[in-house]
Amino acid sequence: MKTRQLVGNDPAFIKLVTEHCIAVAANDVDYSHAPDDQKTKREFQWLAEAMKGANGIHQGIYLVTPSGQFLQRIDGGWPLYDPKISVKKLREGLEQYQTLDRSERLQCPPFATADRMEFEWHNFAPPADSLDLTVINRSFPYEGADKFDIRHPSYFKTDRLILTREDQLALLPENLVVDAAIEVNKNLRDRFLLHNHLAMGHDAWWSEHVKNSEMTATVTAVNNGVATVQYSATWKAKADSKWSTASYAGNMLGKAQVNISSRTFSTLELVALGEHDVGEMRSNMHRNATTTPVGMVAGITPPQLENQPLPSNWAHGYPKSWRK
């Protein structure tokens, strides 16, 4: 998150990358923790060799040649990544690239299918009738806020929440007439908490940690075949496992426009506010305050996306059948 906002959003960095590089965004753990049979693939071998200059496949921003030669580590200034350092190192790396013979920097046979690694997420494909929501979290100002801390209000978290057709229908009263209401089922309403859509970070929530939750959907208006639906929800949760002692208390309001005949959403907007206690502070993420006020905004993701990151809970929070 910090490299994305502090370096990735820097105009000078963006200009250099778009003009002079081919950019790759990847999960280092996908490679470093790949099964042994995947590590025999040439894709892994290429990356492992290229990253020898960084002492292995680790988090960071790096410049390498297509031939797999390490040039530079680009990010710098930890714990507050400094875009000026990144721009300077990127310029140095680009100059270094130009000093190499073309054959030395480009020598790399094309990758055959057998050379490519297979990742489960490659085949993650939600059904065509699912509704994709983009979820943003950001803390409100709090005493002791420190820019080292991932919860600082200048940072935000982005994720996706995918609603199946069944989920969408579960958000609607049976009859879309004014004052019709429904209690949204526990599985669906608790997903907001269990999938960490209500707060910064990623806590290890279990369903039994949810001490109380409610969510209602009420039709407030009907006009020209469109129903306006309002949402109201609350959660109170306390984790008590060895992996998490976090807690959360908050509420959500939202509104949607729904086509009455097709029961499809043309708009859906959800806003939440709560208090999140991390329980145990982690020295690589947190400073000073255990409890922070945090908000959420969720809205329908524009269709026809390219290079959209998967939901953070794609592996365990969604049907296995979605991974063909």
Partner: protein, 83 residues
């Protein structure tokens, strides 16, 4: 900026940053204020101006054809999101 980014920011209500203290609870009266604080600002997605490849072999091929180095942004999860 990628057209998706513009659409997403508009969809989530682009607003200038207002430094506000959190209300005690969310109500319909403070709904827009809370939303404005949390929603991303236009500059929050500037990184999407870069064409981030998620397929390494394809990116290597493209870099070879273009005679350009590869910028590898490696992070737990996906650096573009979910963190």
């Amino acid at each position: 900026m990628h057209s998706y980014t513009i659409t997403l920011v508009i969809a989530l209500c682009f607003a200038p940053t207002l430094v506000v203290a959190a209300p005690d609870s969310l109500t319909w009266q403070n709904y827009e204020t809370v939303k404005s604080h949390v929603a991303p600002k236009k500059e929050d997605f500037a990184f999407k101006k870069v064409d981030w490849h998620m397929d390494l072999p394809n990116a290597i091929h493209e870099a070879t054809e273009a005679d350009k180095p590869l910028l590898l942004w490696l992070y737990f999860g996906n650096p573009q999101g979910n963190c």
